[in-house]
Symmetry: C2
Subunit: 199 residues, 2 copies
DNA sequence: AAGTGATTTAACCAAATGGTTGAGGCAAAG
DNA sequence: CTTTGCCTCAACCATTTGGTTAAATCACTT
């Protein structure tokens, strides 16, 4: 059986949790060690420093931040709207499992803008490419691709980023807010259809 | 002449700047003192502790976070879409002047959700109230008010929150991104019109 | 000019925090 | 059994950081 979790993995899991909750400067090495159920010295044994450990966690999370279905968008025999729907669905599904990911990535980059450059990631670039083709061939309206993507991605991410404040503003229970999130897909696709086709 | 800036005010200004840049746990009292051009002890003389100082800054910024035009939405003789336009314009204008405000508020609340409760603020509540009336009287389509507000507010905030990552994704210069922000108003109102009226 | 209360400063302190060390444990190889 | 190389730990260290203190200075009143 190779199913036992290595110490290294236990540390990474704990580090992810703590860094996502507290951010880099709010996180404590002791806290990570406690959570991993090991001695603090082991953190440094496996990952030299807090910076190094954080960088690993950040890179790992950054990859998750970009939906992995972009490749699938090319093969399938779908209309553009259907592809949008797939994109939104995949993104929302991932976010349900990683609700704290967006604010972690964005606030980290906010405080350290170079990090955006250090990792080569183009969020939604494939959708934009497809969109330009659709426009050229006259199948959808002429819409600013950047504005559109910003809105589409924002529609997925923002409800997670702003959850605490909107829970209160709308006066919703956690269950009700989850319901709102579940219905987000429909609203996003409705937006896309209204803007791109106009029906 | 009462135009001279008090020490208290100098501290507040410096504290706002540093807390907005670094967040609570990333900010250093020494850094704030340096920036205010005073001794570190004075911070504690005027504002007992880091927590107290932060709370003041946070409350102050939290008020800014909610557009102050909500009252104006009632008096004026405008269509609902025009009111939306006003709301978006006012919000975007404020954000241009305070581009770091959204991520500060949202990441702070993320790490300390009780703060959302400690301050009584309903972001966009007035729009929702008006929207319900419009729907009841059949002047706009039946649209989920929460979904709509989440999108509308997100359309204003998200471009500021995600600026670093989208600058890179879209490969835009700062000037080009500012241009994108300037055109945001039109796109947001276009969304509202498409969803609420369908034209 | 002397007194009074608010303001400012340098020096200091205790706790927290990231990081290190050296000794020991433990499993596989010889 | 002993060696070897990886793993684990308690104790320790240096620095940073929020916070304090006591003396000095300033502004204003009497």
């Amino acid at each position: 059986m190779e199913s036992e979790i290595t110490t290294e993995q236990k540390i990474m899991d704990a580090a992810e949790h703590v860094f996502l909750d507290e951010g880099f400067s709010g996180a404590r090495m002791q806290h990570i060690a406690d959570r991993a159920g090991i001695n603090k010295a082991m953190l440094h044994y496996y990952f030299r420093s807090k910076d190094k450990l954080f960088e690993l966690v950040f890179r790992h999370k950054m990859k998750q931040f970009v939906p992995q279905i972009e490749a699938a968008l090319n093969e399938a025999n779908m209309t553009f709207i259907e592809k949008i729907d797939r994109f939104v669905l995949a993104y929302l599904t991932m976010l349900q499992k990683n609700p704290r990911l967006p604010i972690f990535i964005l606030s980290t980059i906010h405080r350290n803008p170079e990090l955006a450059n250090s990792i080569d990631i183009k969020l939604g670039a494939e959708i934009i490419r497809l969109m330009e083709i659709e426009i050229k061939e006259g199948r959808i309206k002429k819409v600013d691709t950047h504005q559109f993507m910003l809105t589409l991605v924002g529609m997925c991410l923002f409800p997670f980023i702003a959850r605490p404040i909107f829970s209160k503003t709308f006066d919703l229970t956690p269950k009700q807010y989850d319901q709102l999130l579940a219905e987000r897909r429909v609203h996003a696709v409705q937006y896309a259809r209204a803007i791109l086709i106009g029906e």
